[in-house]
């Protein structure tokens, strides 16, 4: 019993000492990777694209804004609207974190919009 506790404590110490992202960010990326299963059939993980935009390496705020603009019907693609309707804010954040760390952006990406433009209520 004591040895098990000692083993876990030792492991925790090793995890904290590592030059990794914080535990919360690491969890977001793992969750984002799971959520991204259906995304990556169209939006390629390599960032390559043909007919469907590349979404790797986007700043997270820009990524979330793009998804929200489907939710708010500013953008019209029905597949993306369905997807955005289903995602809550945590899921969008996780996807944004996952896709950002996949590599540098392959297309020109907009700067994130200003704070006032971003203040909308989500149902």
């Amino acid at each position: 019993m004591a040895r098990q506790a000692h083993r876990l404590a030792g492991l925790a110490a090793i995890m904290l000492a590592l030059p990794l992202k914080t535990p919360v960010q690491a969890a977001d990326v793992a969750f984002g990777e799971y959520l991204a299963n259906e995304c990556v059939t169209c939006h390629q993980k390599t960032g390559n694209y043909s007919g469907i935009p590349s979404i790797t390496g986007w700043p997270q705020q820009t990524f979330v804004q793009a998804l929200n603009s489907y939710r708010w019907r500013e953008r019209q693609n029905p597949i993306m609207q369905t997807i955005a309707d289903q995602l809550n804010d945590d899921e969008m954040a996780a996807l944004a974190a996952y896709f950002e760390q996949l590599g540098p952006p392959q297309i020109a990406v907009e700067e994130p919009a200003t704070q006032t433009a971003n203040q909308r209520t989500t149902q």
């Binding site: 299963n37 059939t41 390559n48 469907i52």
Partner: protein, 426 residues
């Protein structure tokens, strides 16, 4: 004692839990866990790749697939229509071996010994497994159309498994003279790719129209009263190929009585069609033989699964994915197979390598090209609910949509194919 290999896996993508500490160390201490995947299509190749790439070397994956190159049934209609070349729908397995360490075994799986957890291959050799993923696709029911059988598939092709049949159908299509009649027998439910026969009708008409053969007729004798995206296809045929396509429900043609491959004749209760220029028989289907011969199917001829994880309802060590399984509201499609494969891969890694798992979520979109810059789609998202994989949301193209939207949908269709084939084989 925490080994470096175990630690490396935790530092990677999995979230550490106390339970994972207890479960994974003993499994790895016995050496690598073994997974065999039967079938190298959209389901099996995806499963093999996702199990291998995310398990940090803890799982040895063997992919059993007789073909050394895979020709996709999806977009084979575009090749028929002259929109894509055959090379564009052909893919190799090299990257799966070189990038992910998957062992390729280019043979047919002959049988499964579920008690011993072994797969026997055609040459008599045996593969042991801790978990087995069965993704054999469909087989054609050769006895379901009177007068037609395996001996006749070169004369009246099905081309419902891609490869030589696809090329054969294209050659026959291109040889049809102006004014020739093409007859398609469309299958009963459930079958691979619900909109597929109707995309094929569209692409055949497109090829004929492009060649100036607008006096040709395509007659569809369906086993069903209605079909996927019917209003959209009907609108498209009338607009793009006026007078060239006639679809008949069973109540109109009164049933297929027989076909004669020697004379390309089709006899229905309503009429006899003699000397057709081309007869495309798409017969009834069931799960691939390896699934049927191993007790994995039920009375429907397809494999029941646990919707929460794609595990076979008949064997806890076996997962069945893709066209061979009973997937509730999901259609039999490559997109579905790829989606199911990722869930199965996650669950296998959870069982064998202590990986974190999430609740199963599935998705599908089917694009169907009707003409140049004119494509329609249908799709949905799915979860385990009410004892099956149930749709939680659906979407479908609308009749009367703007041309610009239909063109954008075709661009998506092309982009999706590039994406999913990179996801499966790259």
């Amino acid at each position: 004692m925490i080994t470096r290999r175990v630690f490396g896996q935790w530092a990677g993508s999995s979230v550490l839990t106390a339970a994972a500490v207890g479960l994974s160390a003993p499994a790895l201490a016995q050496g690598k866990a073994k997974v065999v995947v039967i079938g190298g299509g959209a389901g099996g190749a995806t499963a093999a790749k996702y199990i291998a790439k995310d398990s940090a070397g803890a799982i040895e994956v063997t992919l059993v697939e007789p073909a050394k190159q895979f020709v996709t049934c999806f977009h084979s209609n575009l090749y028929l229509g002259g929109v894509k070349k055959f090379e564009e729908i052909t893919h190799t397995y090299d990257k799966l071996a070189s990038a992910y360490g998957i062992k390729l075994n280019h043979q047919t799986a002959a049988s499964i010994d579920r008690d011993k957890k072994q797969v026997k291959l055609a040459d008599g050799s045996v593969l042991s497994y801790d978990r087995l993923v069965v993704s054999p696709g469909i087989d054609l029911k050769y006895d379901s159309v009177p007068g037609w059988g395996k001996d006749h598939e070169e004369v009246m092709p099905h081309a419902w498994k891609a490869g030589p049949q696809t090329k054969l159908l294209k050659a026959k299509l291109d040889a049809v003279k102006d004014g020739g009649v093409i007859i398609m027998l469309a299958p009963p439910n459930p079958f691979r790719c619900p909109p597929g026969p109707y995309e094929r009708v569209s692409m055949m008409a497109h090829a004929l129209k492009t060649a100036g053969k607008t006096k040709c007729k395509i007659i569809v004798l369906d086993a069903k009263d209605k079909f996927s995206k019917q209003a959209l296809f009907t609108e498209g045929w009338e607009a793009q190929y006026p007078g060239m396509v006639e679809w008949m429900a069973p109540s109109v043609h009164d049933g297929i009585k027989s076909v004669d491959p020697k004379t390309n004749t089709v006899v229905t209760g309503f009429e006899t069609y003699k000397d057709a220029a081309l007869v495309n028989v798409i017969p009834a289907q069931w799960a691939g033989a390896i699934a049927r011969d191993s007790g994995l199917v039920n009375e429907t001829g397809y494999c029941p699964i646990d919707p929460a994880n794609m595990r076979s309802a008949k064997d806890a060590n076996i997962y069945v994915i893709g066209d061979a399984c009973i997937a509730g509201d999901m259609p039999k499609s490559a997109f579905s197979a790829n989606s199911q494969a990722k869930m199965a891969a996650m669950m296998v890694r959870g069982e064998l390598a202590g990986a974190k798992t999430f609740p199963a979520r599935y998705a599908n979109t089917c694009w169907s090209q009707i003409d140049t810059d004119y494509t329609i789609k249908v799709g949905g998202r799915y979860e385990a609910k009410d004892g099956k994989i149930s749709a939680v949301e659906n979407f479908i193209s609308q009749t009367g949509e703007a041309a610009a939207l239909r063109k954008q949908t075709q661009e998506e269709n092309i982009g999706w194919y590039a994406g999913i084939t990179a996801d499966i084989f790259g």
